[in-house]
C-alpha cells in the first residue's frame, strides 16, 4: 500500500506501516480532506513516530524485568516524549487483534460490557491475593531439592475475616460429627444472603466428592450442602451449576469406593443424588445452556457401557427417571432391548459367586421397572390431557408434592413435566448437534410401547396395573405366599404361557409399615418393589368410582379416559397400592391408566418367560428395604 517511487524497490518491508489510505480515512472521519501528498508524508511520519515510541517503550519493559511489552510501557514512553497517552487499553491480557474478512479490516476487539449486569452480579470476582515471599531451599550443596514447594496461595486470604470464619465454621459443621450442628449449618447455608463471595469455595469443597468416595456419610453431607446452596434464594449459581452438577453426577454414576462393601447402602445415595440432580436441573437448568443435553449424554454413555458395574447402570436409570419420563422415553426405552440381554445374563446366573452381582441386578431391574411404569403412566396421561385439551391441572403433581414433603430430603419435587424441558432438547435441536442417538427418535405409540415393555417384564409390569379387587378393600394374601401359577388374563396376553411364574414381591405388599420396626442396619433385600398392586380388568366407570369411595384418602383421582382414537376404550388400568417405607406409613395410592386397546397380537415374548425370579428371595419379603427409591417418585 505504501508505494515508493524510485529506483530502489524494497523487496520486503522492515516495519509495519500505516498506509496512506488509512491516514486519509482517519482524516476524513474527522472531516479533513487530505491530498495524496500530505497523506503520504503524514503516513511516513506516523510510522516513524510509532517506531520511535516503541523503541523508547522497550526500555521500560527491560527495566521492569519483563519480556512482554505492555500498554503501560508504551504509555510511559509517550508521556516522557510529551505525547498524549493512549487511554483505555490497560488490560493485563493481550488484546485480540481480529481481521474482518470482508473488508481487509483489522481491529482490536472491544466488547461492550453491560455495567448493570456487572454491578448486580453476586459472584464477586476473586480479589487479588496478597503479595508474599516464600523461601525454599532450591539447591543444597549443589543438589536440587525435590521437596514440593506447594501451590501458590490463592485469594482465599483476601476474603474478609468474618467470611473466612463463616466458611470455616460451616464446612466444619457440615462435615463434622454433630448432626445437630450440621442441620443448623445447612439451614443457614440455605437462607444466608451474604455468602455470595464464598460460593466458589463451597463449590470447591463440594467438588471434593471425588476424594471421599469411600465415605458414604461424607458424600451424603456434601450432597446436602449442594441442596442447601441450590435452595438458597440469594445465591446466583451462574456457571457454578456445571460444577455442582458434575459433583452430583459423580455420586449418581460412579462406582463409588463405598459400594465395594455390600453393607454400604450406596443405593440410597444414588437415589438422593438423582433427585438432587433433577432438582438442580429444574430450578437452575436455564443457567447453563445445553445442560440437559449433556446430562442425558453422559447418562446414556454409562448405560450403554457394559463394562460399567451394575451400580453405575442403576445410577443412570434413576438419573433418567429423575429427569422425567421424557428422558426415560428417549434414552432408556430405546436402549432397553440392548441392555436387557446383559441384565438377563446376570439375573440368570444362579451361582453362589454371582449372588452379590445378581442382587445388584435386581436393583437395576427394579429401577427400570419403576421408570418404565411411570413412562407408561405419564404417556397415557399426556394423551388424555391432549385429548381433553389439557384443561385440568395435573392432579398427580400435587400428590407428588405431598409425598415429597414427607420424605427425608425436604426437597420440593420437580413438577412432572408433560412437555420437554424448556432448554434442554429444544436448545440442542436448535444447535443442530449431530450424533445424538435420541435425536432421530420417533415417538412410539403407547400400545406398542406397552407391548414391548411387557415382553420384557411380563407380569411384573402387569402386576402394577391392578386387576384385583379395589384397593383398600381386599386383603392380600399372606406375605410369603408365592403367587406362582397365576393365570395370565387372556385379554392382555393371549399368547402367554399359562404357567408363568409371578414375581413374589406382590406377596409382600400389604405388610403394614407400622408393623415393621425393622432395624436400620438390616441389609437391603433384593426387592425394591414397595408397591402393591393388582391387575384388574377395566371395569368401567362405576367400578372406578366405587373404588374411589372406598379409599379413605384419594390420592390419584381416577380419570376416565376417553380414547383419543375413535371408538370405545378397550382397557383401563388402575395402578393402586400402598407405598411402603418408613415415612410413607402405608399411604395408599392409585392411579389409572388407559392403554390403547391391544388389539394387535403381542409379539412373542422372548424375555418374559425367563424372568420368573424377580423378587424371589430366601428371606421374607417383609424385610425392610432401606432403599426407598420409589418413594421419591411422584407416581
Amino acid at each position: 500500500s505504501h508505494s515508493q517511487s524510485g529506483p530502489s524497490q524494497r523487496e520486503e518491508r522492515r516495519f509495519a506501516e500505516v498506509p496512506r489510505e488509512s491516514i486519509k480515512l482517519m482524516a476524513e472521519s474527522t472531516g479533513v480532506e487530505l491530498s495524496e501528498e500530505v497523506a503520504t508524508l503524514l503516513a511516513e511520519d506516523v510510522c516513524y513516530r510509532l517506531r520511535e515510541a516503541t523503541q523508547n517503550s522497550s526500555q521500560f519493559m527491560r527495566h521492569a524485568k519483563r519480556r512482554k511489552l505492555s500498554v503501560e510501557d508504551f504509555n510511559r514512553a509517550l508521556r516522557w516524549s510529551n505525547t498524549e497517552t493512549v487511554c483505555g487499553y490497560g488490560a493485563q491480557d493481550a488484546l485480540p487483534f481480529r481481521p474482518l474478512k470482508e473488508g481487509e479490516l483489522f481491529f482490536v476487539e472491544d466488547r461492550e460490557i453491560n455495567l448493570v449486569e456487572l454491578a448486580l452480579a453476586t459472584n464477586i470476582p476473586k480479589g487479588c491475593a496478597e503479595t508474599m515471599v516464600r523461601v525454599h531451599v532450591s539447591y543444597l550443596d549443589g543438589k536440587g531439592n525435590l521437596e514440593p514447594q506447594g501451590t501458590v496461595p490463592t485469594a482465599v486470604q483476601s476474603l474478609s475475616e468474618d467470611l473466612l470464619k463463616y466458611y470455616q465454621q460451616i464446612t466444619r459443621a457440615i462435615l463434622g460429627e454433630d448432626p445437630h450442628l450440621m442441620k443448623v449449618a445447612l439451614l443457614d447455608l440455605q437462607s444466608n444472603s451474604k455468602i455470595a463471595a464464598l460460593l466458589p469455595y463451597f463449590v470447591y469443597v463440594i467438588s471434593g466428592v471425588k476424594s471421599v468416595s469411600h465415605d458414604l456419610d461424607q458424600l451424603n453431607r456434601l450432597l446436602h450442602m449442594v441442596k442447601s446452596l441450590v435452595q438458597n434464594p440469594y445465591l446466583y449459581l451462574g456457571s457454578y451449576v456445571r460444577s455442582l452438577v458434575s459433583s452430583v453426577m459423580y455420586c449418581i454414576l460412579e462406582p463409588l469406593a463405598a459400594s465395594i462393601n455390600p453393607l454400604n447402602d450406596h443405593w440410597t445415595l444414588r437415589d438422593y443424588a438423582a433427585l438432587l440432580l433433577s432438582h438442580i436441573f429444574w430450578t437452575h437448568g436455564d443457567l447453563v445452556s445445553g445442560l440437559y443435553h449433556q446430562i442425558l449424554l453422559s447418562l446414556q454413555k454409562v448405560l450403554s457401557d457394559p463394562v460399567r458395574p451394575l451400580c453405575s447402570h442403576y445410577g443412570a436409570v434413576v438419573g433418567l427417571h429423575a429427569l422425567g419420563w421424557k428422558a426415560v422415553e428417549r434414552v432408556l426405552y430405546p436402549h432397553l432391548p440392548a441392555y436387557w440381554a446383559n441384565l438377563q445374563a446376570v439375573l440368570d446366573d444362579y451361582s453362589v459367586s454371582n449372588a452379590q452381582v445378581k442382587a445388584d441386578g435386581h436393583k437395576v431391574y427394579g429401577a427400570i421397572l419403576v421408570a418404565v411404569e411411570r413412562l407408561l403412566k405419564m404417556k397415557a396421561l399426556s394423551l388424555t390431557l391432549a385429548a381433553e385439551g389439557g384443561c385440568a391441572g395435573l392432579p398427580g403433581t400435587a400428590t407428588g408434592a405431598v409425598g415429597f414433603r414427607e420424605n427425608s430430603l425436604g426437597l420440593s419435587p420437580p413438577p412432572e413435566p408433560l412437555s420437554e424441558p424448556p432448554l434442554g432438547i429444544a436448545s440442542h435441536l436448535q444447535a443442530g448437534g449431530a450424533g445424538c442417538p435420541w435425536e432421530e427418535w420417533t415417538p412410539v405409540s403407547l400400545p406398542a410401547m406397552y407391548c414391548e415393555l411387557y415382553s420384557f417384564f411380563g407380569d411384573s409390569l402387569a402386576v402394577r396395573f391392578s386387576t384385583g379387587p379395589p384397593l383398600g378393600g381386599a386383603t392380600p394374601p399372606g406375605p410369603c405366599q408365592p403367587l406362582e401359577g397365576r393365570k395370565e388374563p387372556a385379554s392382555s396376553a393371549p399368547n402367554l404361557e399359562n404357567t408363568r411364574k409371578m414375581p413374589q414381591l406382590t406377596a409382600s405388599m400389604n405388610i403394614s409399615p407400622r408393623r415393621d420396626g425393622s432395624p436400620r442396619g438390616a441389609p437391603p433385600s433384593g426387592s425394591c418393589q414397595p408397591l402393591e398392586g393388582r391387575k384388574e380388568p377395566a371395569s368401567g366407570a362405576p367400578n372406578l368410582e366405587n373404588t374411589r369411595k372406598i379409599q379413605s384418602r384419594d390420592i390419584f383421582p381416577k380419570a376416565r379416559f376417553p380414547l383419543p382414537q375413535a371408538g370405545p376404550p378397550a382397557f383401563s388400568f388402575i395402578i393402586g397400592g400402598r407405598q411402603m417405607g418408613r415415612r410413607c406409613q402405608g399411604r395408599r395410592f392409585q392411579t389409572s391408566f388407559t392403554p390403547t386397546p391391544p388389539h394387535t397380537t403381542l409379539p412373542p415374548r422372548a424375555y418374559a418367560h425367563k424372568l420368573p425370579v424377580i423378587g424371589r428371595v430366601s428371606k421374607p419379603v417383609r424385610r425392610w428395604t432401606c432403599s426407598h427409591y420409589s418413594l421419591h417418585l411422584p407416581l
Binding site: 515508493q4 524510485g6 529506483p7 530502489s8 524494497r10 522492515r14 516495519f15 511516513e44 511520519d45 510510522c47 516513524y48 517506531r51 520511535e52 523503541q55 526500555q59 521500560f60 527491560r62 527495566h63 521492569a64 524485568k65 519483563r66 519480556r67 503501560e72 510511559r76 516522557w80 516524549s81 493485563q92 487479588c128 491475593a129 496478597e130 503479595t131 508474599m132 515471599v133 516464600r134 523461601v135 525454599h136 531451599v137 532450591s138 539447591y139 543444597l140 550443596d141 549443589g142 536440587g144 514447594q149 501458590v152 496461595p153
Partner: protein
C-alpha cells in the same frame, strides 16, 4: 560526619535537568539561523579544573568563522573587539582539538568543515540579527555544565557539526564500495583492523544522505550495505533504517549521540598507513573527511590485532575506549578496617568447649584481624573521601560480621554454595527490584505499582517506633530503651511504603539497616526510614526515570543513574547531588559503589561500563565489549575486579587496575539482571531472565589471565574461550526469573525473583 568538601567543580548549574537541555538551549538560539545545524555535544567539555579560556577562545573562533561566512562583518568586528582576539588566531587554533590522537591530521580540514557548516546555515539568511554576545553568553553558561561531562579534548567542529552536502549522493555507494574493495584486498592481518571502519562510515554516510534529504539514495545505500555490518550492531541498524527523514534526526537520541561523539577505533600504525595511502591515491575525500570529522583513530605501534581481539572489545555505541582514558591510576585496594576489639563470645566458646573442640578460635580471629590491618598498596588514602564515623551500633555490627565470617563456608569448585530461593508470589503488580540487607535479615522489593515492600526474613517482626507522644513517657534511662521505643502493635512480617508515583526500578538498603533507598520512574530517589517506615527525603534532580540507585558500603553516600544519561552522587543529608558523572551516551542503567567507596561503576545502554572517581567526578575507566545494554554490575570483594552482565546474556570480567577485559562468561540465554561475588570472591553467581542461576569459577578466571606488561600497555588480550570450564553449576527455577542474588555472611546464596505463572 562531614559532607564531602566541594570538589573543584561547580555544581550550581546542575539544577537544570539533563544535558539535553543543552542542545535544546542551543537549538533555540539557532532556531532562526538554521534548524538542526547546531547540535551541541555533551562531549565538548574542558579538562577538569583547567581554565576554560582555551575553550572560550575556540568557541569564539568558530563563531567568528560562522559570522564571516554569513557576511556578518559588523558582528564579527564587535565580537572580535569584545573578546580581544586577533585575526591571526582563527586559522591556527581551529584544528587544535582534532590534532590529538590522529597522528597527522591536516589543518586544512577544519576550514573546509567550517565552510560546510556555513553552507547549510546560509540557507537561512534571516539569521543576521543574532547578537554575537548573546551567543557567547549562552556558550559561557553552558560551559560549566559541559566541562564536567568529559575530559575529552574539545572540538569546536563537533559543536557545530552538521552533515552537509558534499559530493554527489549516488556516488556514496561508489565511495563505500571502493573502500570495501580495498579493505577486502589487503592482507589478512590488516583486513580485520580496517574492517572496523565499515560500521561508523556506513552510519555517517547514511545519516549524511538522510540529512541532505536524499531519501531514496539513503535507502538504496542502506539496503546495499547494511548486510555487511557486524551482527552486534543489529539493534542500532534497526533504529537507523527506520530513519529516513531529516526531521526525524533531530529528536532521535541515539543518533544524536552517534553524531556528537567520535567513534573510537584502535588501529595499528601499519594498517593506518595503508588506509591513508589508499585514500590519498584515490582522492577519496568524502571518506577521508568523515574519518577526520567523526572518527577518532587511536593508532598504536605493534602487531595488528586479530578479528577475535577486535570483536571482543567492540560493540559499544561509540566504538572502543581511547587508550589514554584508561591510563588513570585507580586505587582499587580496600580501606583499612577500623580496629575493633572483638570481645570473646563466652557463650559460643562454652558451647564449643562442651562439644570438646579445641579452643582455636582466638588465634583465628587474630589472623583475620591482622589481614585487614595491613595497608593495601593499591588502596586510596583513608581520608581520600570523607567517610562517616563509626557509631557504636556499626561497631557491634562489625563484630557480628566477624563472628559470622568465622563460620563462613569456604567455597570453591568442589564446594558449591547452597541456594535458597525467595519467590515473590502473587506479584501481579510486577516485581521490578529486590535488595537484601548485608546481614540477610531484611528483604525489600520494588514494584511496578509504585510501592516498596519490606519483609523481615527472620522471625523478628518489623516494628515501627512509637509516636512522639508515646515516646515521651518512656523511661529513657532504662537498659532496654531501644526495645521500649518500638511499638509492638505495629509488628508485622512486612511493611508497604507508599510514596512514589511510578514503578520502582531500584532499591538499596543502607549498610546499617536504618534506611532504604528507592529510585523510580517518577524521577526521584526516596530515602525511607526503616524505624518509622516513612519517607524521609525525596531527592529530585534526575527529572527523568531513575533506573538504579545504590548505597555506599559505608553508608551516607549513594549513587543514582537514570534516563538522563548521568549518574549522580548524593549524600543523604544533601538535597542536591554532590557529583554528577556525565559521559555516557545513553541511559545509565545500573550503578554500583566500589567496596572502598572511592569509585562508582555505571553500566549503560550505550553498552559501556564506566568507572568514576568520586573525588573529582572524573571518568577513570571506559570498558567496552558488551553487545547489549548493561543491566548488572558487581565488584569483587577485594575491589580488584568488576563483573558486568548485559542483555546479550554474557558476563564480562574486568581488571580494574589495568582497565582490561579478562574474561567472558557465555551461557545465559537472556538478560542478566543479577551478579554477585561470594564473600571471599571465589565464586561469581549470575542470575538471569532465563530462570537460571549460574555459578562461575571466578578464581580460575582471574588467575588464568596473563597480565604482563605488554598486554597491560597495549590492552590487547587474548581471551580464552573457556566459559564451559569456568561454569561450575547451572540451577533452574521452575518459572521464576532471577532478579537479585545475595551471599549471606556465611556464603549461603540467596536468590530472589517473582514467580511467573504463565
Amino acid at each position: 560526619m562531614a559532607a564531602v568538601q566541594d570538589g573543584p567543580m561547580e555544581l550550581d548549574a546542575e539544577k537544570e535537568a539533563k544535558p539535553e537541555i543543552l542542545s535544546d538551549g542551543t537549538s533555540n538560539l539557532s532556531g532562526n539561523t538554521a534548524s538542526g545545524t547546531l547540535s551541541s555535544s555533551p562531549l565538548t567539555a574542558a579538562p577538569a579544573g583547567g581554565a576554560p579560556k582555551m575553550e572560550d577562545q575556540q568557541t569564539l573562533i568558530a563563531v567568528l568563522q560562522f559570522l564571516k561566512r554569513n557576511k556578518l562583518s559588523e558582528s564579527v568586528e564587535i565580537l572580535r573587539r569584545e573578546a580581544g582576539l586577533g585575526e591571526h588566531q582563527e586559522g591556527s587554533q581551529a584544528t587544535d582539538g582534532s590534532g590529538g590522537g590522529k597522528g597527522d591530521g591536516d589543518g586544512g580540514d577544519a576550514n573546509s568543515l567550517l565552510s560546510r557548516v556555513s553552507i547549510t546555515s546560509a540557507a537561512a539568511p534571516q539569521s543576521m540579527p543574532v547578537k554575537s554576545d548573546c551567543i557567547i553568553n549562552i556558550f559561557r553558561c553552558d560551559l560549566p555544565f559541559m566541562f564536567m561531562l568529559s575530559e575529552d579534548q574539545p572540538d569546536v567542529s563537533v559543536v557545530l557539526s552538521a552533515y552537509s552536502q558534499q559530493g554527489d549522493p549516488p556516488l556514496y555507494q561508489v565511495y563505500y564500495s571502493g573502500l570495501k574493495n580495498f579493505i577486502e584486498s589487503v592482507l589478512d592481518c590488516h583486513r580485520a583492523e580496517l574492517s572496523q571502519l565499515f560500521y561508523p562510515l556506513f552510519v555517517h554516510m547514511y545519516l549524511e544522505l538522510v540529512y541532505n534529504n536524499h531519501e531514496t539514495e539513503a535507502k538504496a545505500f542502506f539496503d546495499k550495505f547494511s548486510g555487511d555490518q557486524e551482527c552486534y550492531y543489529q539493534d542500532d541498524l534497526h533504529i537507523l533504517c527506520g530513519l529516513t527523514k531529516k526531521e526525524h534526526l533531530k529528536g532521535n537520541e541515539v543518533l544524536l549521540d552517534f553524531r556528537t561523539s567520535r567513534f573510537v577505533l584502535h588501529i595499528s600504525r601499519d594498517s593506518y598507513q595503508l588506509l591513508k595511502r589508499h585514500l590519498q591515491e584515490r582522492h577519496n575525500n568524502q571518506i577521508w573527511n568523515i574519518i577526520q570529522e567523526h572518527l577518532y583513530i587511536d593508532i598504536f605501534d605493534g602487531m595488528p590485532r586479530s578479528k577475535s581481539q577486535i570483536d571482543s572489545m567492540s560493540g559499544s555505541l561509540a566504538g572502543e575506549a581511547k587508550r589514554e582514558v584508561n591510563k588513570a591510576k585507580v586505587f582499587y585496594g580496600l580501606l583499612k578496617e577500623p580496629e575493633i576489639e572483638v570481645p570473646l563470645d563466652d557463650e559460643d566458646d562454652e558451647a564449643e568447649n562442651e562439644e570438646g573442640k579445641p579452643k582455636k578460635k582466638k588465634t583465628k580471629k587474630d589472623s583475620l584481624g591482622s589481614k585487614s590491618k595491613k595497608q593495601d598498596p593499591n588502596a586510596p588514602q583513608q581520608n581520600r573521601i570523607p567517610l562517616p564515623e563509626l557509631k557504636d551500633s556499626d561497631k557491634l555490627d562489625k563484630i557480628m560480621y566477624m563472628k559470622e565470617s568465622t563460620k563462613r563456608i569456604r567455597l570453591g569448585p568442589e564446594n558449591l554454595p547452597s541456594i535458597c530461593f525467595y519467590t515473590f508470589l502473587n506479584a501481579f503488580q510486577g516485581l521490578t527490584a529486590v535488595d537484601f540487607t548485608d546481614d540477610s535479615s531484611l528483604l525489600a522489593g520494588g514494584f511496578a505499582d509504585s510501592t516498596v515492600r519490606v519483609w523481615s526474613v527472620t522471625p523478628k517482626k518489623l516494628r515501627k517506633v512509637k509516636s512522639a507522644g508515646e515516646l515521651n513517657v518512656i523511661e529513657k534511662e532504662s537498659d532496654d530503651v531501644l526495645e521500649r521505643i518500638m511499638d509492638e502493635k505495629t509488628a508485622s512480617e512486612s511493611k508497604i511504603l507508599h510514596g512514589h508515583s511510578g514503578p520502582v526500578y531500584g532499591v538499596s538498603f543502607s549498610p546499617d539497616r536504618n534506611y532504604l533507598l528507592s529510585s523510580s520512574e517518577d524521577g526521584t530517589v526516596r530515602l525511607w526510614s526503616l524505624q518509622t517506615f516513612t519517607c524521609l527525603v525525596g531527592y529530585k534532580g534526575h527529572n527523568y526515570p531513575v533506573w538504579d540507585t545504590h548505597f555506599s558500603p559505608f553508608g551516607y553516600y549513594f549513587v543514582s543513574g537514570g534516563h538522563d544519561r548521568v549518574a549522580r552522587l548524593w549524600a543523604t543529608d544533601h538535597y542536591q547531588p554532590l557529583r554528577i558523572f556525565a559521559g555516557h551516551l545513553a541511559d545509565v542503567t545500573c550503578t554500583r559503589f566500589h567496596p572502598n567507596s572511592n569509585y562508582v561503576a555505571t553500566g549503560s545502554t550505550d553498552r559501556t561500563v564506566r568507572l568514576w572517581d568520586v573525588l573529582n567526578a572524573n571518568c577513570v575507566r571506559i570498558l567496552t565489549g558488551h553487545k547489549g545494554p548493561i543491566h548488572s554490575l558487581a565488584f569483587s570483594p577485594n575491589g580488584k575486579f568488576l563483573a558486568s552482565g548485559s542483555t546479550d546474556g554474557r558476563v564480562l570480567l574486568w581488571d580494574i587496575g589495568h582497565g582490561l577485559m579478562i574474561g567472558e562468561l557465555k551461557g545465559h540465554t537472556d538478560t542478566i539482571y543479577a551478579l554477585k561475588f561470594s564473600r571471599d570472591g571465589e565464586i561469581l553467581a549470575s542470575g538471569s531472565m532465563d530462570n537460571t542461576v549460574r555459578l562461575w569459577d571466578s578464581m580460575k578466571a582471574f588467575d588464568e589471565v596473563e597480565t604482563d606488561d605488554f598486554t597491560a600497555t597495549t590492552g590487547h588480550i587474548h581471551l580464552p574461550d573457556n566459559s564451559q570450564e569456568l561454569l561450575l553449576g547451572m540451577y533452574h527455577s521452575k518459572s521464576t526469573p532471577v532478579t537479585h542474588l545475595h551471599f549471606t555472611r556465611r556464603n549461603l546464596l540467596l536468590a530472589a525473583g517473582a514467580y511467573n505463572s504463565q
